[in-house]
Subunit: 719 residues, 2 copies
């Protein structure tokens, strides 16, 4: 039996070992939130209020609860927690009975002997790890396994959190208790039959029941090893059904249940990449990054996931569910869980299993050089083993990765880094079949850019950059937009709303100076295309258009580069609070930006698409665009695609292309539209519309045309 | 006490378990050699005689010896072998007592109970591993840990070998026997003092004595853990003294001894490589490949080592010694022991320790896709752990590497390959501090080319190719030459010596069709520069000149690219038999080619050098060459370098450059020589001489000039 406790908490004095002024604590949750509520911090979303949390950054904390029962004969009493953030001690009546560093390892302590009715159980939380000598930024986390996002990032304010963040309870157990139970399986070569093996730790005989998704019993018995024939495979979104079997393992007094998704996954060489490089002196070929699911090469299209709340302890299954449903509805099949925000709660992975969303799971390393001291490696080993064992049963998880951008200038790690070699070893030992990457990007893959138009000398826009890029995977890229006006009103004081400038509220919410001076509002880019903005609404709408078109440019071009390119994963899907501007598709908590819908449409499995040379045009230019039929579906398709250009209120029909049959997971290049941009009295929009009548989804692109005689993009065109 | 046995051997019939016609067997050695001698195979170096070995390729073999003593009371009797090649059983009076697959693991079997005076000890050798379905080439070795060289390579004939290849004896042991004893150490941060720890397995108390290189005792006692202060560090050739301490571990009846070289080694990021790549979409930076020895970044200059005998079991310490002395005398500081030829005998590593030759040691994988079946991984694990434990005490070994060219088209492995992930894991566990590479080349590094002049469309020569290359390490590159005439006469029937054509003897000795049609003689390249050859001697001399100049081009350009580039390691140093033509610097067994001396001179620590744009010139061309002072020494240097050009019997003094002081391990770019090539009545040689008077070694380059009006290189110049 489980017993949920009520908890209170307070600041703790480690010298006197005392605390006072206790307040109500949410478990699971984060102590900083509870403290803020009880101390009247007010709305931390508003203006720069979030800075108030700085004053409690180095506090010690204590949680406490009173036990009001004892174990019966033959029963033991356990304190169980899914995870406590980050360095902590557990005490009974002030006597420490357990200490640990790390937030991702479950805690299970037998307290039968020491607990009694009325005794006090407490959890002491140490201050956040901060590496000596590091400034107030993510560097402070480079000797710990605490995900660094909360030390401040270009979309997350500095807000250091800790506390009892996962489900926590007391539990009585007897000899019927199933201590652990995990299913493993091996598929035959044809993937039609599965040898299942349950590894179970229990004193009693355990009975296993496995049912298919329709509820039919496919196995019932006490033998933990058996074969299931005629299996249904688990597929990702867009390729088939994410089929799940359910199981129950049962004794006289206890049962556990779970699900099994049968599938194989490998990372294989990208098509065409094996023959590279061509000339001597000859280096290696790119790293393999094509996902082969059940023997089928998949184009991975999706997004980078960030923590959906600043207070990650307070994330609920409902929050996960609404966001993951939006992921699926956007025709995505993969999420990259980057190292900066660590590991999600269990509900997240269950939902990904159900929805057919593949998960690229990183360990808790990001943008730092995590030096392999014995102390650090020992915590990393303990945490990583816990994480692997918790998650390896999920069919949705398709690869492990050491962390984010570790082989780049701002990190400084290499394949010689002991931390990464350790993670390779642990994944090999604990999860032999699942692919493992040291980091992203590896050779051939790419991250960035994070803008619509480069601010470097070349001043190219995303269409130009992507059309000349050749990478095996785009595992991060972003195009920012300003938050919707109604969202801005919740976070920016009315007087600062317009004109948009770098006030404290805009800065704190990442509108300015979050990465480059201008990011993420990028007013100079907006002004370049659209001139001085007349209102906040106009500015927000223009910014939204650039995000729409920018994401269309990248996602659709990456799809066209298939099969050499096998991934397009934008930065980022969600956000943990309302940012003033940023690359996310969702504004906190679940407001879909127009960019979200543009991406959803660009990711339709069968799509009419055009290769657009650039975004802005002058009258007299010849606008040329290749037509494509993109087919990432598992079926053969066919359509007639008609290209129409609308400008100055007129439609010009350009071409009608009969695609013929296009094979499954194959794209087809069609003819090129050539169109002389007509004279325009004022700045306007030129829309290329692709109309369809068969299998393909239609499509359209809104492009900028300057008034005759302006040529505002001339420098770029000559560049 | 050790007892060396006499052995005989014979072909073995595994079905009847019988053998007859026994012949004398060399132990250590290779059974195929003994069989050939006893069966009158004749000189296998001559013509294509080596093909005779094909007929015995799939034989089973048996070695046998009679024991003529038994153990005394308190003694045990052991069969000990350093290694047996490759799958074998050990039997006493026909009863199998031990079976193993793998040639790099020592065998130690206690036979006290079963052995008696007069009993027969036998070793049954199974046929060579050949993966089912593979053709008669290295592919056959892709599921075994047998080094693939002997399956046939572009310099090694197909000659499959096996047998008792390492020192093998019987030994009596008592309770005083030291089963194992291995020193480990940790240096303090300043590398001035070492905490030494012996890990010893022995029933008795062991006394340790450590002496410095001068014979002074620096420790004597029974405590296996102690500190040595004021240590001398081990340095590689050219950077300091390869200082070695010696130790003895002793009991009442047994002693073992060995040496310790104190040093630290890391692989660090190449200078300038950390900031790459510059633009978005951005991939990773190159892999680190700069050796940092005792905190000092080293330019690694050396060669690739291949097995010095076809019959590797017969390699002697003397053979190692003469070749390794030549390595040191060539100013080299590193040897790459590529995966194709596996692991050398112990004497090799002892000599490298003594001579200050750094060793890049690969595991036994090369140019194949070693699929990670459970069977293969299990053999690989056992063999790799043995190898690591045997070799990790050597200061000369600076890095482990999974194998050769595994991330290239002809292999097909990736960082997902379980074999490589396993090796990474084992090196982490067994040898934490030593760097580990998955393979060579990694991203940024390069292999090739292997010619003086490209046979591709661009037709560039090595000067042109190297001057425009930008790599972090050139870990393989080759320029072939034809063997010296007196060597050719030993292997090619007189009637086939000239004109040089692709007869069986030339082909078998790798003069033709060994890699490309023309390799390694490359007659078309020779004819391009020198016209139709008039004699064998002329052809050999011209070929030698191209090898000299080609290796100068590559080694000196790689040195100029320091510190971005940190390695130049040519393919290859030695050869296992007399090849008709090839990239080695040494003709078998120890005949130094003229290319050897050219390389030796190009690797002098302080050297006057020029960046030569290309090898061949026309009258009227402006020959331009940058002058450089190359300083890889640990000291500051200074010189005045005078450039003189000699052509048509005249000397033209071009320039005199006062270099000023040049810092340790730093190069300096000087002025550029510009010289109008004069008219020439016939083809001639233009020599650029760099004369020195200070710290630097002088240098010279012989370049080709065509007779006026010929322009034989025109196509290339326009290319």
């Amino acid at each position: 039996m489980k017993f949920i406790q009520e908890w209170t908490a307070a600041q703790y004095n480690p010298e006197t070992k005392t605390a006072s002024d206790f307040f109500k604590a949410n478990v699971p949750g984060n102590i900083q939130y509870d403290y803020a509520v009880s101390h009247g911090y007010g709305d931390f979303q508003y203006s720069d209020n979030v800075k108030r949390f700085k004053e409690i950054e180095d506090y010690w904390w204590i949680y406490k609860t009173k036990l009001d029962y004892t174990a019966n004969a033959g029963e033991s009493l356990w304190f169980v927690s899914g995870g406590i953030d980050y360095i902590f001690d557990i005490a009974l009546d002030g006597r420490i009975i357990y200490s640990y560093e790390g937030m991702f390892s479950p805690v299970e302590i037998d307290i039968t002997e020491s607990a009694y009715k009325g005794c006090e159980l407490s959890v002491i939380i140490h201050p956040h790890p901060k590496r000596e000598g590091a400034g107030d930024c993510r560097d402070q986390a480079d000797q710990s396994c605490k995900p660094p996002f909360c030390y401040g990032w270009d979309w997350n304010p500095r807000l250091l959190i800790s506390g009892i963040w996962r489900d926590t309870y007391l539990e009585t157990r007897d000899s019927s208790y199933i201590n652990s139970c995990e299913p493993f399986y091996t598929l035959n070569e044809e993937r039609t039959s599965a040898d299942v093996k349950f590894v179970t730790d229990c004193l009693q005989t355990v009975t296993y029941t496995v049912k298919d998704a329709e509820g039919n019993v496919v196995y019932h018995g006490t033998d933990p090893e058996f074969t299931i024939d005629n299996i249904n495979l688990w597929w990702c979104n867009g390729q088939g059904n994410p089929y799940l079997y359910s199981y129950t393992a049962e004794t006289s007094g206890h049962s556990v249940n779970g699900r099994i998704g049968f599938r194989t996954v490998k990372l294989v060489m990208n098509t065409g990449a094996t023959a590279e490089p061509k000339d001597f002196p000859k280096s290696r070929y790119p790293a393999p990054i094509t996902i082969e699911l059940n023997g089928r090469r998949i184009f991975a299209q999706g997004s980078n996931w960030v923590n959906p709340e600043l207070f990650t302890g307070m994330v609920t299954e409902e929050r996960y569910s609404e966001l993951l449903t939006a992921v699926k509805e956007a025709n995505m099949n993969i999420l990259r869980i980057w190292g900066g925000s660590g590991i999600n709660k269990p509900a997240f992975y269950n939902l990904c299993d159900e929805l057919g969303i593949m998960v690229w799971q990183e360990f808790m390393l990001s943008c730092n050089n995590y030096i392999g001291t014995q102390k650090y490696l020992s915590v990393l080993k303990s945490e990583a083993v816990s994480v692997i064992r918790q998650l390896r049963r999920h069919p949705s998880i398709v690869l492990w990765c050491g962390g984010n951008e570790l082989f780049n200038e701002w990190s400084g790690m290499t394949e010689q880094s002991h931390a990464l070699r350790l993670l390779n070893k642990l994944c090999y030992e604990e999860d032999f079949e699942r692919p493992f990457l040291y980091t992203s990007p590896l050779f051939g893959m790419a991250h960035g850019g994070y803008f619509f138009r480069s601010t470097h000398e070349d001043l190219q826009d995303v269409f130009q950059i992507m059309n000349s890029a050749k990478n095996t995977a785009y595992s991060e890229f972003g195009v920012p937009s300003i938050a919707p006006v109604e969202q801005l009103k919740k976070i920016i004081p009315e007087s600062e709303l317009f004109p948009v400038t770098d006030t404290a509220a805009w800065i704190e919410h990442h509108g300015f100076a979050s990465w480059e001076e201008d990011s993420w509002v990028f007013p100079s880019t907006l002004e370049h295309y659209f001139g001085k903005p007349g209102s906040l609404e106009e500015m927000v709408n223009n910014s939204a258009l650039l995000q729409e078109m920018g994401y269309k440019a990248i996602f659709e071009e990456a799809r066209k580069q298939w099969p050499y390119c096998s991934m397009a994963i934008n930065w980022c899907f969600d956000e943990p609070w309302i940012t003033a501007a940023g690359n996310s598709l969702i504004s906190y908590p679940n407001i879909k930006k127009s960019g979200y819908y543009a991406v959803r449409d660009s990711l339709k499995p069968v799509l009419a698409s055009a290769r657009i040379p650039r975004f802005d045009w002058n009258p007299g230019d010849v606008f040329s665009a290749q037509l494509w039929l993109l087919n990432s579906s598992a079926g053969s398709v066919c359509d007639t695609i008609t290209a129409v250009i609308e400008i100055n209120g007129k439609e010009y029909e350009q071409i009608s292309w009969k695609t013929g049959d296009v094979e499954p997971r194959t794209n087809k290049l069609g003819p090129t539209v050539n169109f002389s941009v007509p004279e325009c009295k004022s700045d306007t929009v030129m829309t290329l519309k692709l109309k369809t009548s068969g299998d393909a989804a239609c499509n359209s692109y809104k492009l900028k045309v300057y008034a005759s005689g302006q040529k505002r993009n001339e420098k770029k065109l000559n560049g």
